[in-house]
């Protein structure tokens, strides 16, 4: 079979996900056995007018993004949203609860008028249809390879619908709640192999909510473990601004 052509694109983001892909090293070479990378600004100067799979990093936050996204959608057979920004808006979406003009003045006090930005930073699915998602901030490169492999095979790229707790338990971690911390693991999508909780951190929700999360119970638990309402909202707000309201 001929190798599918893959192009990488970036929108509002730190480009850290693309950097993670470049860090794959040995696996990246194996990956090149099954795909041709035809455009990847961070790694090469070539560009291509045709590609089969478009991998998009970053959120949709400017009017001018729309035209570019639509062009990508028209060209690519498969569109993959890579990373939290493209998937759920990411950290960029933190600004969504504030007024654009105030923010522009605060961030660019000298010439706020020079900068183009929409009212909200949105996932790219707000602009175009997305066929597959690689969640996370940054993405888990193993999962990225797995999803690309499944797309090449014509299989459902598949994401876990269960929460981080499952993987955290499989790793035999002591629950961070028992250690006096709070964590969004019970309502956040697994697939990261509970990387944060397994390494002394807590889940901050970069992979977004599972389908049908019990946010009421999650809120009650966080309250029981000593968080007031504002801190609960703040913690959800970090990556899941659009869901923070649902917690109240």
């Amino acid at each position: 079979m001929s190798k599918p052509k893959v192009a990488f694109f970036d929108f509002t983001s730190c480009e850290g996900c693309q950097l993670s892909i470049l860090n794959l090293e040995t696996e990246l070479l194996e990956l090149l056995d099954i795909i041709d990378i035809v455009e990847f600004r961070e790694a090469m100067s070539e560009k291509s007018d045709t590609y089969d799979i478009a991998v998009i990093e970053g959120s949709y936050s400017r009017d001018s993004d729309l035209k570019r996204l639509r062009k990508i959608r028209e060209t690519a057979g498969v569109v993959v949203a890579m990373g939290a920004c493209a998937h759920i808006g990411g950290l960029n979406a933190l600004r969504n609860s504030q007024q654009r003009e105030d923010l522009l003045k605060k961030v660019y006090p000298d010439h706020p008028e020079w900068y183009e930005t929409n009212e909200k930073a949105l996932p790219i699915s707000a602009a175009i249809k997305v066929d597959a998602v690689v969640p996370g901030c940054p993405v888990d490169v193993k999962e990225f390879v797995h999803i690309v492999k499944n797309l090449v095979l014509g299989k459902d790229p598949g994401l876990p619908t269960y929460p981080v707790c499952v993987e955290c338990k499989l790793n035999e971690n002591i629950c961070v709640y028992e250690l006096g911390k709070t964590c969004l693991g019970p309502v956040v999508r697994a697939g990261c192999n509970a990387v944060c909780t397994s390494n002394g951190g807590v889940c901050i929700g970069c992979r977004g909510l599972i389908p049908n999360p019990n946010l009421n119970s999650q809120k009650d638990i966080m309250q029981k473990y000593g968080l007031d309402m504002q801190r609960i909202i703040d913690s959800v707000n970090l990556f899941m601004t659009e869901n923070a309201r649902e917690v109240q």
């Binding site: 269960y162 499952v166 035999e172 638990i221």
Partner: protein, 627 residues
């Protein structure tokens, strides 16, 4: 498995030394510390064994049924090979709860289709347990399910006697191992007895087993709709933690993983969990266990009902891991105790015989209605209202004579008085006719399924046709009065009443009053025979039916009378176009208990006393004995 029980004793140093020697031939897995966690893992040094037990996140089942394992290896050209990854190993320091868990998994993986991956790993393992003689923490409840005394699932069990361990050797494998590696001698029986006593005492003090441990499968089956399922499910996060940490859960998913070369691949099995939403989802997207409540129910029922029936003991071993890991504080203990309590209350009613215990009622008024029929007003001594529906009945008893089922003729009321009309036809009713105002009888009930709210609602807006024959007016009277009181809610109310002669008419004043209401209310009467003073119809009751104009699709008929009447009345109604769905009947049967037990009123699979006496006729028309 316990047929070859041997008892020996060895010093603790000796046991550890024995394990060190065994490392030449076996890999040793034991409780150890790793990256700040306490867990069961393979060790390279016996000094790394932790003897002070802290409940671990995962149970040692993972050595035989790992979180993820390859079961097949294949090439894309079509070569395939089964894969079993096993080690010759000693699993040291497993606690009784987890040993009971392993024993259950041994059965589960061996039954019907022997699972090669699990069983090979088990065959190549020696399990050395360390007995507990006290409860490890506040979440453990092994003593509630009796898993602290495993009768299998281990080769050697060590009992801590201070400086040494007494050994219970349960298998040949264990015997060989102990012989080869442990320098052992005779058991200090006094110290061992003391150990056993301490163990018994501490688990008894902890509270002992669930009150109805053996009956839990039945209790769970009885309480499928218990409110606790709702309240627990409301908090449940469906996070799957409880399943991941359970020592007896063994569901798995099967996944194909192709190497990046796209040439070779593995088929894996990975722990799955019925608490996860996707567990029962089929390829088309349909989910057979979409509701959290059903998943919670399924999980707990597997432990105390479905699989308990299969294994003959609780499949929950009370290790407490799910309780420790549940942020929403959902515990099997809470659920088991709530269901047991409900079942106990249900049983207590029966055990107290309240079911058959009647309440005294005084006769407050008697009216001779006809030659054989008398009206009685009764007052409950306990001051309570009967709280009945139209169409229900009571069991009236006179001590020394017996009990008889009697329809209630008064409409529902909040007072403690109610009316009956009784024909003197049997022992009880004959005796009742001899009693006076101020005498007492005994009452049980009300019983049966009467004209409930659903039927009442169904009638609204329609033409209601009451057809009463003789004393059949009494069971209908409650409903008739109820509808007359709000006659504007109905398109029309027709009351057809027939009896033998004008002298046999009951509630004469009431009938005369109804005939004057007018508007949408009509009363048609007939008698079988009469002299010239009778100005109304003469003939059987069916002769009245053609006189009523009704639209069959907007009419509901309610029929009650002597058994012989039904067939003719129903035929006459059918002839007028009324379907059996629109006909309600109130059946008479011999009834002794009133509560669906004695069998007298049974009509195929239904009890008239409980499911009736009021039925939609189409529901029973197929039953030969119905009419």
């Amino acid at each position: 498995m316990m047929s070859t029980v041997l008892e020996k004793q060895a010093t603790k140093d000796n046991i550890i030394l024995g394990l060190k020697k065994a490392m030449a031939e076996y890999e040793i897995a034991a409780l150890t510390k790793k990256e700040g966690k306490i867990l069961f893992d393979y060790i390279d040094d016996v000094n790394k064994i932790e003897l002070q037990y802290t409940p671990t996140v995962l149970s040692p089942k993972k050595f035989f049924f790992p979180q993820e394992e390859v079961i097949l290896e294949y090439t894309m050209e079509g070569k395939v090979q089964a894969k079993i990854d096993y080690r010759k190993m000693v699993l040291f320091g497993v606690r009784p709860c987890d040993i009971t868990g392993i024993q259950i998994l041994d059965e589960a993986f061996a039954e019907s289709n022997g699972d090669p991956n699990y069983l090979t790993k088990r065959e190549n393992s020696v399990i050395i347990g360390i007995d507990c003689n006290s409860v490890c923490d506040e979440n453990a409840f092994c003593y509630k399910v009796n898993s602290q005394y495993p009768d299998g699932g281990f080769d050697i069990m060590l009992h801590d006697l201070g400086n040494s361990y007494a050994m219970t050797i349960a298998t040949e494998k264990g015997e060989l191992f102990a012989e080869q590696y442990f320098d052992s001698g005779r058991v200090d029986s006094e110290a061992m007895e003391e150990f056993i006593r301490t163990k018994e005492r501490s688990f008894e003090e902890a509270g002992g087993p669930f009150e109805e441990l053996e009956n839990l499968p039945e209790i769970f089956a009885e309480n499928e709709h218990h409110p606790i399922w709702d309240s627990e499910a409301e908090r449940c996060l469906s996070c799957g933690s409880c399943i991941m940490v359970c020592p007896t859960c063994y569901c798995f998913d099967v996944i194909d993983e192709l190497a990046l070369s796209m040439k070779i691949g593995d088929r894996l099995r990975r722990w799955d969990a019925c608490m996860l939403r996707s567990f029962a989802e089929v390829a088309g997207g349909e989910n057979f266990r979409e509701e959290v409540k059903n998943r919670v129910k399924h999980r707990i029922n597997r432990k105390f009902n479905f699989l308990m029936r299969k294994h003959g003991k609780s499949v929950c071993v009370g290790c407490g891991r799910c309780v420790r890991s549940c942020l929403a504080d959902i515990s099997p203990v809470t659920i088991v105790e709530a269901l047991t309590e409900t079942s106990r209350q249900v049983r207590l009613v029966e055990k107290n015989n309240e079911l058959y215990l009647p309440t005294k009622a005084y006769i407050r008024e008697i009216v001779q209605f006809t030659e054989k029929e008398k009206f009685f007003e009764l007052e409950m001594e306990n001051g309570k209202s009967l709280n009945h529906q139209p169409g229900q009945f009571v069991l009236l008893s006179i001590f020394g004579i017996g009990e008889a089922a009697i329809s209630i003729s008064s409409p529902p009321s909040f007072g403690n008085r109610f009316d009956i009309v009784v024909r003197a036809v049997g022992d009880v009713t004959n005796k009742l006719h001899t009693l006076d105002v101020g005498d007492f009888v005994f009452i049980r009930g009300p019983f049966g399924h009467g004209f409930d709210k659903n039927i009442q609602r169904e009638m609204e807006g329609k033409h209601v046709l009451f057809i009463a024959g003789g004393i059949g007016y009494v069971p209908l009277r409650s409903l008739i009065n109820f509808t007359l009181k709000q006659k504007e809610h109905y398109a029309k109310i027709s009351i057809l009443y027939g009896c033998k002669s004008p002298e046999d008419r009951m509630y004469k004043d009431e009938l005369d009053y109804i005939s004057t209401i007018g508007g949408n209310v009509e009363l048609l009467e007939t008698v079988d025979s009469a002299d010239k003073s009778w100005l109304k119809n003469t003939g059987v009751i069916t002769s009245l039916i053609p006189m009523v104009k009704f639209h069959p699709e907007n009419t509901i008929a309610v029929v009650c009378g002597p058994p012989v009447m039904y067939k003719f009345v129903i035929k006459a109604l059918n002839d007028q176009g009324l379907s059996n769905e629109n006909i309600y009947v109130s059946l008479e049967r011999r009834m002794k208990c009133g509560v669906g037990k004695c069998g007298h009123c049974q009509l195929d699979d239904i009890y008239v006393c409980q499911d009736g006496p009021v039925f939609r006729f189409s529901d029973i028309e197929e039953k030969e004995e119905a009419l």
